[in-house]
């Protein structure tokens, strides 16, 4: 056995085996989506015939409002991504740079809030939004604006925390120099902090986008109407319990829904991994 084999063979064996494990479900979904029968049962792991029936069904079958689901998801996740960062950035700036009474308690409260999974307060959120519905039906339980508000609140803790970490890393000398030149807090924020932070704001908002796109249970509780559902809730309801019947279109639908997320993720890899080591876990 040569030295190369001794040192590297096991690395490739591990690499290939784990690659097979990682790729198997993805490969299966792809061949299912182009399988003309659309059935869960795969007669051969090598496709014999290619058809785009399943994709066509998604866009043409009126019982599957796939495009509406996709649109809902993009609008909801997009709005949350932008607004939560706009609101979160200013709070993060205050926590990191400005002096005020109760800052210490504020930070501890924030720390507590950002590690509290919204899931735990599910019953409370449900009851509160049911009551909001009583007097403001447009933004209570069962509505997209209501869900959006809940998402905004939920994203706030983590976003402020992440952004605060970033602001902390900007050298304070910049602020002090600006202050010497007579800049107000507002000016420091808009003229120094925001231009420096734009790449980070973009990353945090894309992370919020992925997180919201992936959120299932609140959306499921809030959005009952077929046409108001997000893609996650829609596809789950569509496949739920009927794997054998709806597998083909589901496979096609999940590929289309996953592609944008995978692309965002891969292009942000570097930033996300930095964020990961800061202690946040993707949901």
């Amino acid at each position: 056995m040569s030295k190369w084999l001794r040192e590297n063979l096991w690395r490739h064996v591990v690499g290939v085996l784990v690659s097979l494990f990682a790729l198997f479900p993805l490969y299966l979904v792809i061949i299912s989506s182009i399988n003309p029968t659309g059935s869960l049962q795969i007669t051969s792991f090598i496709p014999q015939e290619i058809s785009f029936n399943n994709f066509a069904k998604l866009f043409n079958d009126p019982t599957i409002p796939y495009l509406t689901w996709m649109k809902n998801s993009l609008i909801i996740a997009g709005t949350v991504a932008i607004l939560s960062v706009v609101v979160g950035a200013s709070s993060a700036f205050a926590f990191s740079r400005l002096k005020f009474k109760g800052k210490r308690i504020g930070i501890q409260l924030l720390l507590l809030a950002q590690m509290f999974p919204a899931l735990l307060a599910l019953s409370a959120i449900y009851v509160i939004m049911e009551r909001v519905y009583n007097f403001a039906p447009a933004m209570g339980l069962g509505t997209q604006p209501g869900l959006l508000l809940v998402y905004m609140g939920g994203a706030m803790g983590v976003n402020i925390w992440l952004l605060k970490g970033f602001v902390d890393s900007i050298p304070i000398e910049l602020d002090e120099a600006a202050k010497v030149d007579g800049a107000s807090a507002m000016q420091t924020y808009w003229l120094i902090f925001i231009p420096l932070a734009i790449p980070v704001l973009a990353v945090v908002s894309l992370l919020s986008f992925i997180g919201t796109f992936n959120e299932f249970i609140l959306a499921r509780l809030f959005l009952v109407d077929m046409d108001s559902r997000t893609i996650a809730v829609g596809l789950q309801g569509f496949i739920g319990g009927q794997y054998s019947q709806n597998w083909g279109p589901f496979a096609a639908g999940s590929i289309i829904a996953s592609v944008p997320i995978v692309i965002i993720f891969l292009s942000l890899q570097k930033y996300i991994i930095n964020g990961l080591t800061a202690g946040s876990v993707k949901g």
Partner: protein, 513 residues
């Protein structure tokens, strides 16, 4: 550029936005008050006042930055946390969902029964002379006729009515029958009217041409806060658990009940009531095993990969991109896909291995499936982390050890691994806390099953605390929001202590302690 932050236009725009927000909040406050949602109205009022003070004066610059985020946090994170704690001290479940005054009205409405003789009248529906909905009732045996509405009753003499061959009045003085169409449209309303008879008796319609004499049997005595059964004389009093209970027979409960404060009963039940405690302990143990096994398997595979790739081998970049894919996929989609793959009859797993395992029908196989799927979802995370950590360990250490004659195995176990663990242990803790509440995986893959609903037990073999709590709160049979909230509070205490421990280890708090 500077003008933008001091200019008149900017200031004007600011006032417009603030005024708009205040106006919207004021409208919401007003309608919340009108709908008796006082707690929410109070919160919105406070928010309105704070916004007005902070943005219309120069009291505090930092608060101008803080307020929007803080309000969202209070409304949708801290508010619900407090509300969860409050709900956990209430009897709050199906049958105890409304407030006490509402429950009293409902009990009164439901507390009726036919009179003992089962008296009925033939009736015709229409309007009386005051143009109210009314009935023209006929007793064909005694030839007694009367018009009755919900507010008045008029006896008619036989000369005032025209009867058909059966002796049922068809027309009467001061009574206008409804046309067929009107009759159909008002069907629902008629069914709910209590037509006057002799107090405490009244007439209810049964079908379109029959009126039955009913009696109010439950009377609310507001001075003693009890219901009295007028037929049997039984007294029903407030049990303190959100229901009126028969004083003579504690098993007999009036429905509906109301959400009533019961303080720590739910918490005491969690520890002492076998019906609650037994399934909870089972679920709790599995939650710990699940989270621990998940972290262990994900970390081990991630570490193995990181070690294998810790050298510039051919195709390393390709391997790396492949390994990241499961992590980049939206997890909801991945879990649903795996659900199909574990299908017994047609699933790819049984197909691939030539087995015939009913994965989600057997407790042990379902648990294996959950762990395998979670391994797939999470190993890339630990691969990324550990390979990063390996690079952070200075190579001088292992070089020095190897000069001293240490074998590669010794270097790994004595130097690399301990250093690595020091770096990643806070992340292991965080991952444990995250998986402790990994609701999506359980809910979407197995639904918590398999379970044996025959024993009346809603906990399944793969249910973790959070999915079990969800079933208690939003299940199909009984929805017990109070008990679910109590369990949520317990989970939060566990998670908060785990996370604080992790944070202390990673010394995030250093910056402000």
């Amino acid at each position: 550029m500077k003008a933008l932050y001091h200019g008149k236009t900017t200031k004007f725009a600011k006032y417009v936005v603030v005024a708009l927000v205040i106006a919207i909040l004021a409208m919401l406050v007003q309608s919340a008050f009108a709908s008796h949602e006082y707690e929410i109205a109070a919160f919105l009022t406070v928010a309105l006042i704070v916004i007005a003070i902070v943005y219309l004066t120069e009291i505090s610059i930092p608060f101008k930055f803080l307020i929007p985020g803080a309000l969202f946090l209070f409304a949708f994170v801290i508010g619900p946390i407090v509300y969860t704690v409050v709900m956990s001290t209430f009897q709050y479940q199906t049958g105890n969902y409304i407030s006490k005054p509402e429950a009293i009205l409902k009990v009164q409405a439901l507390g009726v029964a036919p009179d003992k003789a089962g008296t009925t009248f033939d009736v015709l529906v229409g309007r009386n002379s005051a143009n109210e909905y009314a009935i023209l009732a006929s007793d064909i045996l005694t030839r007694r006729y009367f018009i009755s509405s919900s507010t008045s009753k008029t006896e008619l003499f036989p000369v005032d009515v025209e009867v058909n061959s059966d002796g049922i009045a068809q027309k009467g003085t001061g009574f206008t029958p409804l046309s067929g169409e009107e009759r159909l449209a008002s069907d629902q309303e008629f069914a709910e009217i209590r037509f006057i008879y002799n107090e405490p008796f009244f007439i209810k319609l049964e079908g379109s041409s029959l009126g039955a004499v009913n009696q109010r049997i439950l009377e609310y005595k507001s001075d003693r806060d009890v219901f009295v059964n007028l037929q049997s004389g039984d007294v029903y009093s407030d049990s303190g658990q959100g229901n009126y209970v028969n004083e003579a027979d504690k098993e007999e409960i009036l429905q509906p009940g109301w959400r009533s404060p019961i303080w720590f009963s739910h918490y005491i039940d969690l520890f002492t009531n076998d019906k609650v405690r037994k399934p909870l302990i089972g679920v709790f143990i599995w939650t710990i095993i699940f989270a621990a096994l998940t972290v262990l398997t994900q970390f081990s595979l991630g570490l193995l990969l990181a070690l294998a790739m810790d050298r510039k081998i051919h195709g390393r970049r390709i391997y790396r991109s492949i390994f990241i894919l499961p992590y980049a996929m939206p997890s909801v989609m991945s879990i649903l896909i795996w659900g199909g793959m574990f299908n017994t009859e047609f699933g790819a797993i049984n197909n691939l291995f030539g087995t015939d395992i009913a994965w989600f029908q057997s407790a042990i196989f379902a648990r294996v499936a959950v762990i395998v799927v979670n391994l797939w979802l999470g190993f890339p995370y630990f691969y990324l982390i550990t390979s990063g950590a390996l690079q952070a360990i200075p190579s001088e250490l292992s070089e020095a050890a190897s000069i001293d004659g240490a074998s590669p195995r010794q270097i790994f176990s004595k130097i690399t691994l301990p250093l690595l663990m020091q770096i990643v242990s806070p992340l292991l803790v965080a991952s444990f806390a995250f998986n402790f509440n990994n609701f999506n995986l359980i809910y979407l893959l197995t639904g918590g099953g398999p379970s044996s609903p025959l024993d009346g037990d809603i906990a399944g073999a793969t249910d973790i605390l959070i999915s079990y709590t969800y079933k208690i709160a939003f299940g199909t049979n009984v929805q017990n929001l109070g008990l679910a909230s109590a369990i949520s509070v317990i989970i939060f205490i566990i998670i908060a202590s785990i996370s604080l421990y992790g944070i202390r280890k990673s010394k995030v708090l250093d910056s402000f302690s």
